[in-house]
């Protein structure tokens, strides 16, 4: 299988910050709003370089979403920044009415998604956000896997007309995708080709999927690894092409198995090409305090869990 090199662990939120810094220089319509988490979202550079285009809203996320929607009138491209929990569940109706239904060009940028937020615990670890956002008509939903891809996605969404939910996280994880990649919204990336099982992963689980594929290779199982950075619109063609070849699939995400990537893949398969599927995801549960590694292990969100799921699904063919 194709090998990828980790060029050094980095947090995806810093990829967002780096992308925003670049947008500050290249796109004068980009404005940034933050609800008292500038440092956590790595928005300091943008704030310092473009104080007139940075808006500190305070701890008032509902107001932030509304202001962002209003700023699009007059041609601004607002990027809002706060934790994923406060970017979605807390402000669902504001996003629904003032952004999605109103067709506003707002980029909702959400850090600290999932259990890898760590010690702060379940109050802050949202595992339902992908589901909430993908249900909104017209919303583009993206969950990037590493620093480089998050930076590339941040640049790409500025050029995309329409509301976007961009999800990333807190921990330092492997940085392995190309620095100069062309990020194409809605286009899956086949990271490694294989014949026995398809592994479709998003976010932090993509690197785990690559590790799992190596372990499976050692066991004589050939896995195809697909990085689905865009949950919606979903690249159904890439999914179907691969599953028609391998005959089974494992989906992997740091999200509840209800409402996440796995369900989108299952719907695609059931409508077009039914095939056995196993879900690597949280199983309708809240998270808890712990280190990211401990939580990934406890909730079955790592390479080992993907290997087990792949062996299981292969036997169901």
């Amino acid at each position: 299988m194709k090998k990828y090199t980790n060029t050094g662990n980095k947090d995806t939120r810093s990829g967002f910050g780096a992308g925003l810094t670049e947008l500050g220089k290249t796109n004068e319509n980009v404005v940034a709003l933050c609800a008292d988490l500038t440092g956590s979202l790595k928005m300091d550079d943008f704030k310092n370089n473009h104080p007139e285009r940075f808006f500190q809203i305070g701890i008032a996320e509902a107001n932030m979403i509304g202001i962002a929607a209003g700023m699009t009138i007059g041609g601004k491209i607002p990027f809002t920044g706060t934790f994923a929990n406060f970017s979605t569940g807390r402000v669902y109706d504001q996003i629904r009415q003032s952004v999605a239904y109103s067709d506003k060009n707002v980029k909702i940028c959400a850090s600290h998604a999932g259990v890898t937020l760590g010690e702060d615990g379940a109050t802050h670890q949202i595992l339902e956000d992908l589901g909430l956002m993908k249900m909104l008509p017209g919303m583009t939903v993206i969950n990037t896997c590493d620093f480089n891809q998050t930076k590339a996605a941040t640049l790409a969404i500025a050029d995309h007309e329409g509301p976007v939910y961009l999800r990333f996280g807190r921990p330092k994880v492997a940085n392995f995708t190309a620095e100069d990649q062309n990020f194409e919204i809605g286009k899956a990336v086949v990271l490694s080709e294989g014949n026995d099982v398809t592994i479709i992963a998003t976010g932090h689980l993509v690197w785990e999927a690559l590790q799992a594929a190596e372990q499976l290779e050692a066991k004589g199982i050939s896995a195809e690894v697909i990085n689905i950075h865009t949950i919606k619109p979903l690249d159904e063609e890439a999914i179907l092409t691969s599953v028609k070849k391998t005959g089974c699939v494992v989906t992997a995400e740091e999200h509840n198995f209800l409402g996440g990537l796995g369900e989108s893949v299952a719907r695609t398969l059931s409508m077009n090409h039914p095939a056995p599927q196993e879900f690597v995801a949280t199983m309708d549960t809240f998270g808890e305090s712990g280190t990211p590694e401990q939580l990934m292990a406890k909730y079955g969100l790592n390479a080992e869990a993907i290997v087990n799921a792949a062996e299981k699904v292969k036997n169901r063919k």
Binding site: G58, A62, A69, G70, Y101
Partner: protein, 281 residues
């Protein structure tokens, strides 16, 4: 001086439009709409610099955001009669395949609407965003909003009120429609909101009052006064007292007509009190 007779004729026709829209589909919100006929007429006929050849970005124009979207009948009537879309289209209010949805939306492309509203409490935040956008674009025009008084029970308003004062959003004029009524009864009975003037002032807003919100000249005078107070470091709030159902005797002094349409006989009585002036659609 505004031409009072012309404005009164416009208002009478707007009231007819409101009544006929809600009657036809036996749904919608006549009470608050009737109470705000003077306000909308003042804004679109006298106060705002605006272009009925609609452009979403509205550069170089004054903008208006309706936060309490349920009074869409008055909004639609005034937009149509100000040239935004054909008045005949008012006959499609709340019908299937219409641009005139129950609550206003941009989603069907109705000219004059810049944000969806209906779920309450979101309009002021949106208006602040538009006002900030104007400042970034060095556009000196103003942003106007309208909110129900009951709507102020939604917490997001107070986030917005705090932000606008703290950040000197002084190109914003937010009017509160003090009709004292909400669905379940009077605001005093549902949730007393205390001294709103003192509250806005405590948050750092410039506050003025229009005691007679159903007197067109007083509304124009109040809005002009509000305009004169913009650009001075504070957002401006107008507390405008209106009578829900104004212009139709049996609809006044009660919350009963918040969301109820008149029947055939009631419509006839109501229309007789508001003569046709500009031609029914």
């Amino acid at each position: 001086m505004p031409n009072t007779q012309q404005l009164e004729e416009f208002i009478s026709q707007v009231r007819r439009d409101i009544l006929r829209q809600v009657h036809k589909v036996n749904s919608g919100h006549p009470g608050g709409s009737l109470g705000c006929a003077e306000f909308f007429t003042a804004l679109y006929q006298e106060i705002m610099e605006h272009n009925s050849n609609f452009n979403m970005h509205g550069e170089g124009e004054d903008l208006f955001f309706l936060s309490n979207g349920h009074i869409s009948p008055v909004f639609y009537s005034v937009l149509a009669r100000s040239g935004y879309f054909p008045v005949e289209e008012l006959s499609t209010f709340r019908l299937i395949d219409s641009r005139l949805q129950g609550h206003p939306t941009t989603h069907e492309g109705l000219p004059g609407v810049r944000i969806a509203s209906g779920s309450l409490g979101q309009g002021m935040s949106v208006a602040i965003g538009a006002a900030l956008s104007k400042k970034l674009n060095k556009d000196s025009r103003l942003v106007y909003t309208l909110h129900g008084d009951g709507e102020l029970q939604e917490g997001q308003n107070w986030e917005a009120i705090m932000y606008a004062a703290g950040n000197k959003v002084d190109n914003l004029i937010s009017t509160i429609d003090l009709n004292g009524q909400q669905i379940d009864g009077s605001t005093e009975n549902v949730l007393p909101m205390g001294d709103l003037k003192a509250k806005f002032e405590a948050f750092g807003w410039e506050v003025l009052e229009i005691a007679e919100g159903n007197n067109i000249l007083k509304v124009i005078e109040g809005l002009n006064e509000a305009k004169s107070r913009t650009g001075k470091g504070k957002p401006v709030c107008i507390l405008m007292t209106t009578e829900m159902g104004h212009g139709v005797d049996f609809m006044m002094y009660s919350h009963k007509w918040h969301g109820v349409a008149p029947n055939d006989e009631q419509l006839e009585t109501a229309l007789a009190q508001n003569p046709e002036t500009l031609g029914d659609y």
